[in-house]
Amino acid sequence: MLVIAIALALPAGLRVIVNNVGSVSGSWQGAADFSVYLAEDVGDERAAALADEIRARDDVADVTLIDREQALADFRARSGFGAALDALEHNPLPHTLVVRPAGGASGSVEALAQALSADPAVHLVQLDTEWVARLRAILELTSRVVDVVTVLLGLGVVLVIGNTIRLEINNRSVEIEVMKLVGGSDGFIRRPFLYLGFWYGLGGALVAALLIAAALALLRSPAAALAALYGSDFRLAGLSASQAALLLGGGALLGWAGAGLATARHLRAIEPR
């Protein structure tokens, strides 16, 4: 039972982790915002005018101007480099425009970035979305790996339960023989073994769900602490109701399948003599 539970808990647990990382990056996915750093010699008025200009474009949803003084104040407050910054003669930070593109296609964002960087007042366009895209690609790959692991371990569960049922069939061969002698059909004789496999699978899945819940309970407070360090209110999510149902249903189904295979292979061998 524990072997079954662990075999089921592994893919389900991995899936939970992928989901959680996905939900962390999900908050960044929608915001394809990028930063436009203006040239150092661009003044306050020019920056504000440029912001209005860009905001007027069709492919731009919004523009936020981050004033260089404000940026410095933020940096001083957050970085802990206050003393070092005081040593500087002047503010090294330029004005920054945070541009939120309209629509969603990444191609148009690229084009927009290109167009904006053509302006002589713009020093650099930083597409922050690139690493988000990379993370998403990595997550996608991980998700596929979890899929493969799920299939393999699911197969493992079928075999483990199949083996358990095979042993049970051997233990009860006398009973099976008597049943066949008094006219028990294959279906009749199979049924209790199928039920047994079903319960093994369901029980294993239940234990797996408990294992995952226990693991998450252990991880919850360190994860919250880590999120707090990043100024995020991210909460570790457990199995959703539908995922839990999928786990239990999947476990039961795998158990049934394992028992089905075992009975199909081994019941026939037991015949009255």
Partner: protein, 232 residues
Amino acid sequence: MIRFEHVHKRYPNGKDALRGISFSLERGEMAFLTGPSGAGKSTLLKLITLIEKPSRGTVLVNNQNTSRVSRRRIPRFRQRIGVVFQDHKLLYDRSVFDNVALPLVIGGLGPREIARRVRAALDQVGLLGRERHAPITLSTGEQQRVGIARAVASRPDVVVADEPTGNLDPELSLEIMRLFERFNEVGVTMLIATHDLDLISRMSHRRLRIVDGQVAADVPAGEAGHDWEAGD
């Protein structure tokens, strides 16, 4: 009811268990199958219960050619035959009731009908009131009666028994045989393999003697056996 026509049975190991057996048992008849050990009595019964199929010849049970019964239809075929074994073949992890009920559960009867028939069968073998007992707590003779109750519970047309008294003392053996007679009286066809010649000489039923896979003698009911029948 049961009809053998030139039946040969050769096992995969090359042993010829039956060599051209022909006989027939009419509906409602009761007969003993005798003969020395290894003569083919058990094989003959196995052909009737479709544990084995004939190598050559035809076995008809209930007008059904056993060679033509597919593997899938064997269970239904067996449901119409009651079988009593020398070693009872009871399920020792179940109560007497559940053992007798087994063929009825398999037959798909409802719980009330099952309870009714199980009690009727246990009543007939004199074990009513022991239905909640575990078979292991019963004596050998009582266990055999549970086995008989199971064989007749589904009201089969034919009951075959393989050495049903093999492990019993003469008194209990006679009791079991009288039980078979009572079932026969209500129309059940009976074929009983035994080498308890002393016992069957006290009963007047047909005797079919098998020696070396062939019918050596077929003594009708009421006739005395021959001297050469003895000595098994």
